[in-house]
């Protein structure tokens, strides 16, 4: 990760707020140090100079001093007012979006972020924005409180169910920055994050136009599955997984809550993604959200390919899909041949870069 | 100062020097307790304030269905019991045992009447499906085809079918709230929260209105419920007081338990003095005065 910060152990500075907040932070550190050092020095100095020399000796009495008391009430008060005013000024900037903004809609959901651009583009857990534009996020959530937090932009705001909150920023430096959920929202709170990509305007335009990727379908599917669409937050395995186990799913018979048994072929997987509530696997809750309208056909192909690559019963380790299943797929999907593209098991996760 | 084995008046606890100190302690303690009680109810009043300022019309609609007659009656009952309580203290100070006993019994009687009336009101809400918790209302079967023809249930009264005991805001109740809300809407009295809180796509939305009214009923039940709980505790206190007074424990020198219990009883009365207008009355003029 490239660092745009000029101080060690410091987060990147990538928005117009960043340096303001940082300078204010340094001001507070300065205030703190200039109070702390004298106090600590005084404590040490007095404690050593006036240490007990004779057991139980009684030093001279000192009476309080009104002058001192007034001084050390007024000075902190005045300084704290500068802190208040500076903070209020920054805050009003951060919380009042300017007039000319590019709006992006944000929906939080346990535990993923969904973004929608004005042009209709949708993203999950990733947000692409152009540099140098005022960007306003219109945010809400489907369930509990969440919080959009982008440290490099020094800004965050809670996302509250039942209403819209807003957040705006002007990203200055192209790069890739952390996006976190900073309001506790349950089980996978720490997994509810992703990346913000700041791009120069022209690259952003390309991206909006659907700049192609040169990943194989399985790579693409894996990327979508683990990062972009957040499938992994339910299907990643581990004891607490809420979604059905997908490893070794392809080609098996699946028992639905209706009692029906269906074969897990491409069609079935595709339907599971687009219309999850249509066929609920036995033993699971119908909580999987629909991804209809959020995945392009190309991405669907990738997802199906990836899930197939997760292994099928009659191909224990090697994940080349069994020809039988391939043949038995009367898929509406246009590119069934793309499936056994690569042995995904030794495919390293596409490093986020 | 006095040594330890001086004369101990009855009721003096060991940590105190004399009766005066004990009485002061107990009285300050009770007042501190009452402050605590005020803040306890204060949280609820804050909730009331927030939601009433958001959805005044829904609150008016909900309030109109409460029976101000019963509420007013209960206010009077409580005031009488407050008087008898005050008189109890008066006679305790005078050391008059018989009057004490009679007045405590009277206080308890009125307290019980209050609770009885509350029970009547609660059961009315239960029967009309106005308890805001799903499943805690009168469960009336979905109308049988036969009953449907008659349009009446067995009880002879028209009941909304409510098989799962859910909160109901239908029929006349709903019509009345529609009337209030539409009128306020036309005269532009609705708050901006109400504009989105009652309407979907420009149409009054029955479910949304119901939800807001349910919040009113929820506040009504929690507030009056907690108040009733305090009354019950008060009755327990009175029972104890009655026994002690019966035994002639209290005299002109030692009556602070009576006084302390009195403070509690009056406090509970004060809470009701506010609950009555806030829950039963505000918004009533919309019904009588025909809106703004």
């Amino acid at each position: 990760m490239q660092s745009t910060s000029w101080v060690p152990l410091f987060p990147d500075q990538a928005s117009t707020f960043a340096w303001q907040v940082d300078y204010f932070y340094f001001y507070l550190i300065l205030v703190s140090v200039s109070f702390a050092i004298p106090i600590v020095v005084a404590i040490f100095f007095f404690a050593i100079k006036y240490r007990e020399k004779e057991k139980f000796e009684t030093p001279e009495e000192i009476h309080g001093s009104m002058v001192l008391e007034t001084t050390w009430s007024i000075i902190p008060f005045v300084i704290s007012m500068t802190i208040f005013l500076g903070g209020a000024y920054l805050y009003f900037q951060q919380y009042r979006p300017p007039a000319d903004t590019m709006e992006i809609y944000v929906v939080g959901k346990q535990w993923m972020w969904k973004f929608q651009h004005g042009t209709g583009q949708r993203e999950i857990n990733e947000l692409h924005v152009p540099a140098g534009r005022n960007i306003k996020l219109m945010m809400t959530t489907e369930d509990v409180l969440h919080d959009v937090f982008i440290p490099a932009f020094r800004t965050k705001a809670d996302v509250v169910p039942g209403r819209y909150t807003t957040l705006w920023f002007n990203a200055t430096t192209p790069g890739k920055y952390h996006l976190y959920c900073a309001e506790y929202c349950g089980l996978n709170h720490s997994g509810m994050g992703g990346w913000v990509y700041v791009m120069p305007q022209n690259e952003f335009d390309d991206w909006l136009a659907g700049g192609g990727s040169n990943q194989t379908p399985v790579e693409l599917g894996k990327d979508l599955f683990t990062n972009k669409l957040g499938c992994a937050s339910c299907h990643a395995g581990g004891q607490n997984q809420r979604g059905a186990k997908l490893e070794g799913l392809f080609g098996t018979d699946v028992k639905l809550t209706t009692g029906q048994v269906v074969k897990a072929d491409e069609e079935y997987i595709r339907n599971s993604i687009l219309n999850p509530s249509g066929q609920i696997v036995e033993g699971y809750q119908p909580i999987m959200p629909t991804f209809k309208g959020q995945v392009t056909e190309e991405q669907l192909v990738g997802l199906v390919a990836y899930i197939k690559s997760l292994g099928s019963p009659n191909a224990a380790t090697s994940t080349t899909a069994a020809p039988t299943t391939n043949a038995a797929a009367p898929s509406a999907n246009t590119k069934p041949a793309a499936t056994p593209a690569a042995p995904a098991s030794n495919q390293p996760a596409p490093k986020k870069k | 100062m006095s040594t330890h084995d001086h004369y101990h008046p009855p009721g003096l606890q060991h940590q105190f020097e004399d009766m005066k100190q004990q009485e002061e302690s107990v009285s300050i303690g009770m007042w501190a307790f009452l402050v605590q009680e005020i803040m306890f109810f204060g949280g609820l009043f804050t909730a009331y304030l927030v939601f009433r300022s958001r959805y005044p019309m829904a609150f008016a609609a909900g309030s109109n269905h409460l029976d101000a007659f019963w509420g007013g009656l209960n206010t009077l009952v409580l005031i009488v019991s407050s008087l008898t309580m005050a008189l109890t203290v008066y006679y305790a100070q005078k050391g008059n045992r018989n009057m004490q006993v009679i007045l405590i019994i009277a206080t308890m009687f009125f307290g019980a009447v209050f609770l009885g009336v509350k029970a009547i009101e609660y059961s009315d809400k239960f029967n009309h499906g106005l308890v805001p918790v799903a499943g805690l209302n009168h469960k009336s079967k979905a109308e049988e085809p036969a009953a449907k023809e008659e349009g009446k249930t067995a009880a002879g009264e028209k009941h909304e079918p409510n098989p799962r005991g859910e909160f109901q805001w239908t029929g006349e109740n709903y019509e009345a709230s529609v009337k209030i809300i539409t009128e306020a809407h036309e005269k532009k009295y609705l708050t901006k929260y109400e504009e989105v809180g009652y309407y979907s796509n420009g149409e009054l939305d029955q479910n949304k209105v119901r939800d807001k009214v349910r919040i009113f009923y929820w506040i009504y039940f929690v507030m009056t419920g907690l108040h009733a709980l305090h009354m019950i505790v008060g009755l327990g206190l009175m029972t104890w007081l009655l026994i002690m007074a019966w035994r002639g424990t209290y005299s002109a020198d030692y009556y602070s338990p009576v006084e302390i219990s009195g403070l509690y009883w009056h406090f509970v009365d004060i809470v009701w003095i506010f609950l009555f207008p806030l829950l039963y009355l505000l918004g009533r003029h919309f019904m009588h005065g025909g809106g703004h």
Binding site: - | A32, V35, S82, L281, H285
Partner: protein
């Protein structure tokens, strides 16, 4: 011990307004209740100003409360300490109202409920 205690402990403790006084207070309370009921059925909001009904209802309730506190609860004759705690409770509740409402009344963005 008495010399520094906060409560003036004299016979004042036993003071009260006597039987007629108690009944007078009782009368005020009853009248207040009936009054508040009838006022509530009049549409003061359009006669006077919006919120008048609420204001009147609360004023009556406050009067009733004050009567109960002062006379039934004997605060009128009590020490400063007791006055203070009686007032403090309500004052603190008012703080809670005021500071909570300052948020609700000044929110610019965001209505709640979809």
């Amino acid at each position: 011990m008495a010399e520094h205690h906060d409560i003036e402990h004299t016979e004042a403790h036993k003071e009260h307004i006597g039987l007629p006084g108690y009944f007078a207070v009782f009368g005020v309370l009853v009248v207040g209740t009936i009054l508040t009921y009838f006022v509530a059925t009049i549409d003061l909001d359009s006669i006077l100003f919006p919120g008048a009904n609420t204001l009147v209802a609360l004023l009556i309730a406050f009067t009733k409360m004050t009567c109960v506190i002062l006379f039934f609860m004997h605060v009128y004759w009590q020490s400063k300490m007791i006055w203070l705690s009686a007032v403090a409770g309500f004052f603190w509740m008012a703080i809670m109202f005021a500071y909570t409402m300052q948020d609700y009344l000044t929110r610019v963005t965001g209505t709640f409920n979809p």
